[in-house]
């Protein structure tokens, strides 16, 4: 998708001189563009994107991704990295540009803050003065937040928190933390939830036609298969829990009994308002390749087993086989493209201007209840 931005100008500045230094940079770039034969530049800032990097590798990765994102989401990126050493905060500013239609360059900003010693505990105070007014503040936590210096002040500043539940060492911890944020009226976007978009769309498609819609009312079994590094491991279950929770919430289900686990399979039951029971199971499949947590397949059975809907991902071919076995449906499986979600695409989606997703809040709470066996 997006190409890396050109870094037009970059320099180290004292913390209290960031804004004047940026203004001076913009002025010199604007004035110098014609003389240097460069296209005119336009400053575009659509959000403040605060990135907390846990490690140097995270910081480099985040810088690379945010540079690529600048074309779609021109922002003031404030990247905070912590180092050991004597108490000190240093800053480094850059201006990134992409060519655009009409021969202009669209440019945005990166501010890197390096905190050391106790200064790492006061990130909110460091970043607050740097926010561009009247555009949202998005806090992106590329790593498990328990490993990052995230404090309440920083969370309170964010209009949106972007995380990836896969980065948490434990599913339950991830769901707990995100639920607590939601309960504090914060908007949370989990990349793990966004990865399910294709699965949800394909599942919904089964029931778009009049012939199959009724099968939703007589759904009896749902099986979700997810990849994990070893069978029976709790690792990487979060997407599978999200999927089940989503389906249950859409069907109006109430959990009837808690999880029963045996031989790598978690079983749940849900009682629907129409008093029908849906048996749901999560099946861990040993991973051959690809990331843990990816779903491997979904099967839905309805109407006394007469109707069966199945999506099976063939990871190496980047396709999914879609099978419908129902009295009125064609028997042959059809294939649809099913590429692995690219981190850049997911992040771009997470930053997009869509309003908060009320469905996600419901799904998250449901997934947490499932994870706890309630």
């Amino acid at each position: 998708m997006s190409s890396a931005a050109d870094v037009l100008r970059t320099e180290d500045v004292p913390l209290d001189a960031i804004e004047p230094a940026l203004r001076a940079l913009w002025r010199s770039l604007s004035a110098g563009a014609p003389a240097e034969g460069r296209p005119a530049i336009t400053r575009v800032i659509t959000m403040n994107l605060v990135v907390l990097a846990g490690t140097e590798a995270d910081a480099e990765h985040a810088l690379e991704l945010s540079g690529r994102l600048a074309e779609r989401h021109p922002s003031r990126v404030i990247l905070v990295r912590s180092r050991s050493g004597p108490e000190k905060v240093s800053a480094h500013i850059s201006i990134l540009c992409h060519p655009s239609d009409g021969g202009r360059q669209l440019c945005s900003e990166q501010i890197q803050l390096v905190t050391a010693g106790k200064t790492a505990l006061r990130i909110a105070q460091h970043v607050a003065p740097l926010f561009v007014a009247d555009v949202p503040v998005v806090l992106w936590l590329p790593r498990h937040p328990l490993l990052l210096p995230v404090d309440e002040d920083l969370l309170a500043m964010a209009d949106r928190i972007v995380v990836d539940a896969r980065s948490f060492p434990e599913t339950e911890a991830a769901l707990d933390r995100m639920t607590s944020w939601l309960e504090s009226r914060r908007e949370v976007v989990d990349l793990a939830w966004l990865r399910l978009e294709r699965w949800r769309a394909l599942t919904a498609q089964f029931f778009e036609s009049a012939d199959s819609r009724h099968d939703l009312d007589v759904l009896e079994e749902v099986e979700v298969r997810y990849r994990t590094s070893r069978e029976g491991s709790p690792e990487g279950r979060v997407e599978a829990l999200y999927f089940l929770s989503w389906l249950a919430s859409r069907l109006g289900g109430r959990w009837e009994h808690g999880a029963v686990r045996s031989a790598g399979v978690d079983r749940f039951g849900a009682l629907r308002p129409n008093h029908t029971r849906v048996e749901m199971s999560l099946v861990a499949v040993a991973r051959t390749e690809g990331a843990c947590g990816d779903l491997a397949g979904v099967t839905l059975v309805a109407d006394g087993g007469r109707c069966r809907y199945e999506i099976a991902r063939v990871e190496e071919l980047e396709v999914a086989e879609v099978v419908v076995q129902a009295p009125r449906a064609g028997p042959a499986p059809v294939r649809v493209g099913f590429p692995t979600s690219h981190p850049l695409e997911l992040l771009s989606l997470a930053l997009s201007g869509m309003p908060s997703d009320p469905l996600y809040a419901q799904v998250l709470r449901g997934a947490r209840a499932l994870a706890e066996g309630r």
């Binding site: 779609r72 919904a204 498609q205 029931f207 778009e208 980047e318 449906a329 028997p331 493209g337 590429p339």
Partner: protein, 514 residues
């Protein structure tokens, strides 16, 4: 067949998806599968939709055309077309899955056997690909073929009216070449189809920026209160292109700018910018308001045409530094052709909102740049309290840029820094490309999905087409009655004939330079 009129409850699983309503399984039949429109627009749009999972998995595309072609050859051609013209390029897995949807039926459209074989082919698609009997017939064929082709479909029993399975027919402009032929076409369509089966495609309505007109006008409290004769001085709508007829001289000789652009695209823009707010954003309420607006436009008498319409034809000149020939030197064009490649109108809307506010429309080929925009110029302030350089206060202008560089800008006056009160016009700019991260869907993508889900809001209704032709007819008649004596009357690469300025009369107005 399921009984007509039974409302299917919404799919609870679609809530919160990219589209709340997803298309049902269906077979998408393209008549004219070997044509330009199919290669440039339809196949790339279908593939982009497929790639983004906005089409059902149980889906089939059936190409129908005169020549013989195997399914494999059709897939190869489709792949080449998507690679050349698509915004989403074919990639291995996604393309291979899409290619499995593609098949081809060769045959003459006059031959009943073609429809018999197509019927059998579609039944096979129902059983093998689960397309559930739903059909979209896309007529990517010349307009003269619409009536006989639809008649043949009707005779073959392939266009029955029902909600499920459904049958819909998409036709592209031009919908007739004047009011009489437009009415005749509507009558012919109505002999086989009911109105809600007919989707008249004007791709302008599928553009994000055109749809944003609804949002801009009806979701911002700032602008709607000033959107009337009390505050607006005049409106200019421009659809300009630097290209000539691009080898379509013979087609253009039968069309001209008024028929090709003004009657459809520009009337759509006019109705969207000037219509009253609909009570709800439903297909019929929106289209009712558009029709009401078009019917409020003053229909010129034969005597008035000369004062409110100007035509032009390009001569040779230069575009982007390259010498280009005049229209009459283009292949397929008569050496004394009277066909206009430029049309400019001054329209007045006889209703309370717009009485006395002129709407200036212009469309032309071989103009300096490609631009489609609507410029709303507001009245000047009644009194300027700054004595010094007061004459330099310009009227505020709001420009809705349809393409390219899609966005909205507002021009207003600001004080020039310094000790004196000096005014200068400055611009606030919103650009789609920078304010939204995601790439908008192409117009065809949007409209194809709308057709598949049965939402005709962004398609023209029969009465809407007729209302637009009602406005064009007197101009066409007057122009046909008097051959233009001064053609060619503008050089390629200029903003049209000088005579276009006469539409402003003695008013202190002028065409914008977009």
């Amino acid at each position: 067949m399921t009984a007509v009129g039974i409302e299917l409850a919404p799919n609870p699983l679609s809530v919160g998806m990219a589209r709340t309503v997803a298309p049902e399984p269906c077979a998408f039949v393209i008549f004219g599968a070997s044509g330009d429109l199919t290669s440039r627009k339809l196949l790339p749009a279908l593939y982009a939709l497929w790639h983004h999972l906005l089409l059902p998995a149980r889906f089939a595309v059936v190409g129908v055309s005169r020549g013989d072609l195997s399914d494999a050859a059709f897939r190869d051609k489709a792949r080449a077309a998507v690679a050349e013209f698509g915004r989403v390029k074919p990639d291995g897995a996604s393309w291979n899955a899409f290619a499995e949807c593609l098949s081809y039926v060769g045959g003459d459209f006059d031959d009943p056997n073609t429809f018999e074989r197509l019927g059998e082919h579609l039944k096979k698609a129902d059983s093998e690909r689960g397309t559930a009997g739903n059909r979209v017939y896309y007529l990517a064929v010349p307009p003269s073929v619409f009536p006989p082709l639809i008649k043949k479909l009707g005779q073959a029993g392939m266009v029955e009216h029902g909600e499920r399975p459904y049958t819909r027919v998409v036709i592209e402009k031009p919908f007739g070449r004047d009011l009489k032929t437009a009415r005749a076409l509507n009558v012919e369509l109505a002999q086989t189809l009911v109105e809600d089966q007919v989707f008249r495609m004007d791709h302008y309505l599928g553009k994000e920026t055109v749809q944003n007109l609804f949002v801009f006008r009806f979701a911002n409290s700032l602008f709607e209160p000033v959107w009337n004769r009390n505050f607006v001085d005049h409106v200019q709508i421009t659809v300009a292109e630097p290209i000539g007829v691009e080898g379509r001289g013979a087609f253009y000789e039968e069309a001209g700018a008024l028929r090709d652009i003004v009657q459809n695209h520009m009337m759509q823009l006019l109705s969207l910018v000037a219509m009253e707010p609909p009570g709800r954003f439903t297909a019929n309420e929106v289209r009712d308001e558009k029709v009401k607006l078009l019917r409020s436009v003053h229909i010129p008498t034969a005597e008035e045409v000369d004062r409110m319409a100007v035509r032009g034809q390009y001569g040779s000149g230069a575009i982007a530094g390259e010498e280009v020939p005049g229209y009459r030197q283009e292949p397929g064009v008569a050496q004394d052709s009277p066909v206009e490649t430029y049309a400019a109108l001054r329209l007045e809307i006889d209703n309370w909102r717009w009485a006395g506010v002129p709407f200036y429309l212009r469309a032309g080929k071989r103009l300096p740049k490609r631009v489609s925009e609507i410029a709303v110029q507001f009245r000047s302030v009644p009194h300027l309290p700054f004595a010094e350089r007061a004459a330099q206060a310009e009227a505020c202008v709001l420009v809705l840029r349809i393409q390219p560089d899609e966005g909205i800008s507002l021009r207003f006056n600001a004080k020039v820094p310094g000790f004196r009160v000096a005014l200068q016009s400055v611009k606030m700019d919103f650009r789609y490309g920078t304010s939204f991260g995601s790439e908008p869907p192409e117009a065809y993508e949007r409209l194809i999905v709308d057709c598949m889900i049965g939402d005709p809001t962004l398609f023209a209704r029969a009465d809407e087409v007729e209302a637009a032709w009602t406005l064009m007819d007197p101009i066409l008649a007057a122009w046909a009655a008097h051959r233009p004596a001064d053609f060619p009357n503008y050089e390629s690469g200029t903003w049209g004939p000088a005579a276009a300025a006469k539409l402003f009369g003695r008013e202190a107005r002028a065409w914008r330079r977009p």
